[in-house]
């Protein structure tokens, strides 16, 4: 509580001591109410986690951790709850999405921060805003109508012809639905977030440093590569991790294009069944089979824990960066 007391002491500084008693009372009452309201976000995280733990407890109680996390078989009717295909499916889709998103995002944010004129920046911002505003289900429709056929008609034949011998790129699946389609859709969905965070991070580099390099005759790219990027590397990594955590939890859009077959993926053309899709697809019958609801809420819990870790780490790094400016 000492942290809180300290803050309260700070709040009651000299400036906030008003002249009339009634106004002082209002001020103090408002302070207390306001203060309690700020507890909401902090408490909310705890409540969400607790509720999921409580609801998932039955399954954590009946099976060992390794049975759940590393079990391969998912047959709720027979009481078999192996999460491994779903966990691997999530990792595959997220990894492909992030790998596809990072290079263009990095290039775009560096361009916007280092090269572009203000005019281009004012055009770019609404584009990113709109990309961020498009609802997941619309991304899903787009994926279904454009990306799945694109994978099927263009990427799969290409890969079959040239890259089929590389294990991760073997074409296994003749419909276009799968990890690659999910990854492409995810990449576009997380792009605005990654771009704007990296842009913010780049803007924290003082111009003096850039000028110091330019003054000895470095080209702009030499300046960026040798001075700017090394300075902000942790921030860039944090931005990517933040994007990855967004991708981990994305549900509807991925669900619509990824195929939803619980298997251990071996190629980007395989179908997969990520955790969020598992939860969303089965909420209907989860109350009718024993432990099913606990298993699905357990899946949500796994997702929450991984995302919380990703999020807290990246946010701490970014806060340090952005506060410095």
């Amino acid at each position: 509580m000492s942290e809180i007391e300290l803050t309260q002491m700070k709040m009651e500084g000299r400036l906030s001591r008003p002249s009339t008693p009634s106004r002082a009372r209002t001020n103090r009452a408002a302070q207390r109410t306001f203060f309690i309201i700020t507890l909401v976000p902090v408490v909310l995280i705890i409540i969400v986690a607790t509720a999921l733990v409580v609801r998932a407890y039955p399954i954590l109680n009946s099976y060992s951790f390794s049975e759940l996390l590393f079990g391969d078989i998912w047959r709720p009717n027979d009481g078999q709850f192996g999460f491994r295909p779903f966990i691997l499916g999530t990792l595959w889709v997220t990894t492909v999405g992030v790998l596809l998103a990072v290079p263009p995002c990095l290039l775009v944010s560096v361009y916007l921060a280092e090269y572009a004129h203000n005019r281009l920046r004012t055009i770019a911002k609404p584009i990113l805003d709109v990309l961020a505003a498009i609802p997941p289900v619309v991304y899903g429709v787009w994926g279904l109508l454009s990306i799945v056929p694109f994978v099927d008609d263009v990427l799969a034949p290409l890969s079959e012809r040239w890259l089929g011998s590389i294990p991760f790129l073997a074409v296994t699946q003749p419909t276009g639905f799968g990890i690659l389609a999910g990854g492409i859709v995810l990449a576009v969905m997380i792009a605005p977030l990654i771009i704007s965070v990296i842009f913010e991070v780049l803007s924290t580099v003082p111009n003096d440093l850039r000028h110091a390099a330019l003054a000895v005759g470095a080209t702009q790219w030499q300046t960026i590569r040798t001075i700017v990027l090394p300075q902000v590397l942790p921030g860039i990594v944090a931005a990517i991790v933040l994007g990855a955590s967004r991708a981990l939890g994305e549900t509807i859009a991925v669900l619509m294009v990824v195929g939803n077959v619980p298997q251990i993926p071996t190629s980007v053309f395989d179908t997969a069944y990520p955790l969020p899709a598992l939860i969303a697809n089965n909420y209907g019958e989860m109350m009718s089979i024993p432990l099913y609801d606990a298993a699905l809420l357990g899946a949500a819990l796994v997702l929450l824990v991984v995302i919380l870790i990703f999020n807290i780490l990246s946010t701490l790094v970014l806060q340090r960066f952005l506060r410095r400016s």
Binding site: L209, A212, A215, V216, G217, A218, T226
Partner: protein, 252 residues
């Protein structure tokens, strides 16, 4: 005429709609210290920045006219800015050590321009330029410490060494001592006086006393125009313009 190192012809510069430099025509002599002075906001720094093409780093700027270095217009479209900046070095107002070691700071420009082939050559040059900047004695035992661990005055001498290492012919100084303590300032000033036998030096300053200590040649600016320019003793002892006179008397 062959003594002129930088020649400015009909130079006009604009920040957006603001006319910052108005029809500048000056000549800057070789191997001398030229001091640009004038009240704040008169365009001193802007003029200086046109000499190494730093002016264009600000957005929404426009420039007409020419700046000739050794008779070659550095604003010609075919010109390589980085070559210009290699020949025309800059000592910034605040020391700006790069976030790397002392050694790497000095080597930075040489590596960028791939000026040496072997490690040993780089090492030799680093020592050479740190000696010229009067910093060698103080840092020779801590070459791989971060440059930010130096004092502000040392940092500025490090920046001088870093600038000299790419073998420029002209050194620009944008109030290079204004962030420093008096002893460090004096140290920098004496370096500059030593350096003028090999380099052409152009300094912007807002302190009249510093101008009098350093200047061989003076450019006095007022509201974006060159009010007076000439050899230092002429301008200081016998100013032709009323504005210059008032400034020298300390009226503003």
């Amino acid at each position: 005429m062959n003594n002129t190192h930088i020649q400015v012809n009909n130079l006009n510069a604009y920040y957006g709609k603001q006319h910052a430099l108005k029809d500048i025509n000056i000549e800057i002599p070789k191997n001398q210290i030229t001091v640009i002075m004038g009240p704040s906001g008169c365009g001193k720094t802007t003029l200086l920045k046109t000499f190494n093409r730093f002016f264009e780093l600000t957005e929404d700027v426009k420039l007409t006219g020419e700046v000739l270095v050794d008779g070659e217009n550095i604003y010609d479209p075919a010109v390589d800015v980085t070559e210009v900046r290699k020949v025309v070095g800059l000592l910034a107002q605040r020391p700006s050590p790069l976030p790397m070691s002392i050694y790497d700071n000095v080597v930075y420009g040489m590596r960028i321009h791939q000026m040496k082939k072997e490690r040993a050559e780089y090492k030799k040059s680093v020592r050479h330029y740190l000696e010229i900047a009067g910093l060698w004695e103080e840092v020779q035992k801590r070459m791989h410490d971060p440059a930010t661990s130096l004092s502000i005055g040392q940092q500025q001498r490090l920046c001088l060494a870093r600038g000299l290492a790419v073998e420029p012919e002209i050194i620009l100084g944008d109030e290079p001592t204004s962030a420093l303590d008096p002893i460090s300032s004096q140290n920098i000033e004496s370096r500059l006086i030593e350096l003028k036998k090999d380099y052409t030096i152009v300094i912007v300053t807002h302190t009249l006393r510093q101008a009098k200590r350093l200047a061989d040649h003076v450019i006095y600016m007022y509201l974006g125009e060159v009010a007076e320019a000439g050899p230092a003793h002429d301008v200081f002892n016998n100013p032709k313009h009323e504005r210059t006179k008032q400034y020298l008397e300390g009226l503003f």
